[in-house]
Symmetry: C2
Subunit: 197 residues, 2 copies
Amino acid sequence: MAAPELEHLIALLAKLPSLGPRSARRAVLSLLGQKETQFAPLVAAMQTVLEKVKTCPVCGNLDTITPCAVCSDSTRLNHQICVVQDVADLWAIERTGVFKGQYHVLGGLLSALDGIGPDELNIQSLLEKTEANKNCEIIFALPTTVEGQTTAHYLSDKLANSLCSISTLSRGVPVGGELDYLDDGTLQMAFKARRSL
Amino acid sequence: MAAPELEHLIALLAKLPSLGPRSARRAVLSLLGQKETQFAPLVAAMQTVLEKVKTCPVCGNLDTITPCAVCSDSTRLNHQICVVQDVADLWAIERTGVFKGQYHVLGGLLSALDGIGPDELNIQSLLEKTEANKNCEIIFALPTTVEGQTTAHYLSDKLANSLCSISTLSRGVPVGGELDYLDDGTLQMAFKARRSL
């Protein structure tokens, strides 16, 4: 058996998503093979992130500054608020560079199965934002799963009395998508939402 | 884009075997979601392993004590030396509890493709061990790949003049193995090496 310190580290690493006991063991052995070039920099980087990265109190993004870089960027539009499920989706949209407004991270989706109700999500502060920020546009960038669409419906009900307009990302054929390989639901949706050229 | 500290950590994690940029990002977000229960203990465990775990100068195992727990265990047999490719294989054999002798970690396999020759491996110290320890048994626990068998041939040539006997792990049908699903080479090997009951 490996030393208890090693077994402890492997057990902790194995809890990460997309790692298991075997891949965690391989990762630790690979790190120990390159202590100076890989292991020490990784530990230092983790320490920095653990100490410095905080959740932005305004939008829910993760950043080393408070409010986060997006919220404190004065060149960004204040009247557009993009509602996302989690920080990963926020980063994905930021990588495209297509959106120049504010974000609001829900921190999950409504799910009866997982027992996640409105109180578990970051919804109240969204309602307060829309009251303060009249004539804004709320853009739902939520997954097109059952949970994502349930959440979108719930939110649009809650926002019905606000003075903000509500929109959602378009659905249709993905870029590079072969029609033959597409599921029926997406193809139907793309037909119904066809645009004139 | 995420903060530079986060991007740096994701890039370092993505270099680990069995992780890529996307799974590294998921891992970091999962850790940041459980700072106290997951992230801080993981950083502490990595720091401990980075500082304390050393390569054993005798056998090449990784442990917090020098020589390692296996080499300093006086109850283990000294006249059996099991030659393995790397520490992962040593740990795998130790988990079975079947072997009570000493180990010798080569640190890799001979590979013309990867440019790994005898000088890159921990071979010289094995030869010295066999000279000092006469009448020992050398057990090759090497993979049954081309590289593994090349290395075994090379080592048995080098050890031909020593007074040690040389053996290798048996090949055959794995426990729980269906004959129908076995490759032809293994089935042939299992037939040729059949034992009387």
